[in-house]
């Protein structure tokens, strides 16, 4: 095994690139859970759908990537709003397992729908010409596109933070996780707020899928892998916490990147070890809030 600095840095950046995708995926799941109290099993499906939508939007031309991503995010917003209005709203007062079953049904429909529209074969798209060459960092080659992925995720994290911290709507979203009745009493249009949060979460997932397409092929099966990864990130980081998603994504991205060096076939085992450890010590996640004493 070659352990020089350049190689380690290369692994670290690869882990960061994985983390940036995981973050886009998990933060929406976490936001949606925080505001709606629903765990969206179809979250990975919108991620997968995002990749297919990008593939469709650019029509095989990698240079159309940037505009394509804008389209993907816009479609994600619309789709999210529609799904929330038509399907989720009726099940808010229902037991948790109805909500889970509903989003699971959505997962099945999207997976087969994508097969119907795009076929079951893998789809891929290269990065734009300008980013198709490796950059050399500390003597090791590194795909330039990964850097873009990392920067984009960082940008989203900052914008999201500013949005939640500085805007009135962001304040409401933070408040709704604490006390919904209070917000309603203050005259905040809570139903519309929930639609907006769900749409935002879905748009982020779709964007995550789109951004990843130039480096990774996509197939309908990607949805399941994605949603399970997202679950692990939020379990580790803490469900409902944005910073938790960021931390969880970072830890899991890096553990995967370095785990591959130690035990290539079963590197996923390290991720599960981390998760089991977190659950034993802090069952509500590293940055999550512990539940109050039950009475």
């Amino acid at each position: 095994m070659n352990l020089d600095l350049g190689f380690l840095l290369q692994q670290f950046l690869t882990g960061l690139a994985t983390a940036s995708t995981l973050f886009l995926l998990a933060v929406g799941l976490s936001l949606i859970f925080g505001a709606l109290g629903i765990v969206n099993f179809a979250h990975g499906s919108f991620y997968m759908l995002g990749a297919y939508l990008l593939y469709w939007a650019v029509r095989g031309n990698p240079e159309g990537l940037w505009w394509g991503l804008v389209e993907v995010a816009a479609i994600g917003l619309t789709l999210g709003a529609l799904v929330e209005r038509a399907l989720l709203r009726p099940v808010y007062p229902r037991p948790e397992h109805h909500q889970i079953l509903l989003t699971y049904a959505l997962l099945l429909v999207i997976e087969d729908g994508v097969k119907l529209l795009f076929g079951a074969a893998y789809k891929s798209l290269g990065p734009p010409q300008a980013l198709a060459h490796p950059v050399w960092i500390a003597g090791a080659p590194f795909p330039a596109y990964y850097l873009v992925q990392i920067l984009l995720a960082a940008l989203v994290a900052v914008l999201l933070w500013l949005f939640l911290k500085r805007t009135r709507m962001g304040l409401w979203i933070r408040a709704i996780t604490q006390d919904r009745a209070m917000l309603e009493a203050l005259g905040v249009p809570v139903p519309r707020l929930l639609t907006a949060v769900f749409a935002l979460g879905i748009a982020l997932a779709a964007l995550g899928g789109g951004v990843t397409l130039p480096m990774q092929t996509v197939s309908p099966g990607a949805a399941v892998e994605a949603v399970i990864n997202a679950f692990i990130v939020v379990v580790v980081g803490g469900l409902g916490s944005i910073w938790g998603s960021l931390l969880g994504a970072f830890l899991i991205g890096e553990i995967q990147a370095f785990g591959v060096m130690l035990w290539p076939e079963f590197s996923i085992a390290f991720v599960y070890l981390l998760m089991a450890g977190v659950l034993l010590i802090r069952p509500w996640g590293l940055l999550g809030r512990p539940p109050a004493l039950r009475t």
């Binding site: 399907l87 509903l102 429909v109 399970i228 599960y272 998760m275 659950l279 069952p283 039950r294």
Partner: protein, 302 residues
Amino acid sequence: MRAIPLALLILLALLLAPLGLSRYATEILTQGFILALFASAFNLVFHALGLLSFGHAAFFGAGAYTAALLAARAGWPYLATLPLAVLASATLALVLGFFSVRTSRIYFTMLTLAFAQLVWAVVHKWYGFTGGDNGITGLEVGVLADPRWLYYLALSLLGVGLGLLWLVERAPLGYALRATRDNEARAEAIGLSPFWLRLTGFVLSGAIAGAAGFLQAAWQRSAFPDFLYWTKSAEAIIAAILGGSGHLLGPGLGALAFIELGAFVQARTEYWPMVLGLVLLFLVLFLPRGLAGLLGGRGARG
């Protein structure tokens, strides 16, 4: 008690069915019994403990792989592997349950899902031992190669499983399990330990799921990683909710409906998941108490 003659009539029909049915129809019905056993096992955790496990495929798969490995690699007669298959599933449930049952609600669901997917990933990749994604095929299953024998075995194991669950439901243990679901604080205040009770229920449920997996491997004369995949867990969930989780026979009823519907749809289109998804959407939005609720059963039984 008009229910008793009816039950005897149904039992008689089930016993005679293979004599009149085609080989294919017998096999489909057998598959229905297997899922019925699996879904009933799942429902013990789901209904009595109030915990939604998305990881029961791991126990189903553990039963199937234990039987298949013993038969294929160690040359055991297939039927003799049943006790070990059940034991292996129970042991796996003990280990995963030890971590999972201390969490609740959605954390429990995600945790069981993640653990089961870990088991799946190991089985899927460990070519040297489990055959990886090729699975273990061409099992020698003895008399069970005859669909009728397998039918009767599946029916008997389903009967035993349901009988056991019925006993537990009425026994103090069943009440204690439901007590932890109804009110954890009150349960502790009458001296019950929710953690150990949940673990007991989880292990019992995993063991029965293992018996279903044992049958599944005989049915396909193979074991595949698909047995451990989360869609398998989802089948149990769907069957339980489709049939109505509030009744002992609900999950089994749902399983039969699920399998028959699946066979019907799959004969006509490859887009079965799509159809299933649409059926589920309809079910959740418009028929939340399941088929048992539709028939006027007591959906909110204790």
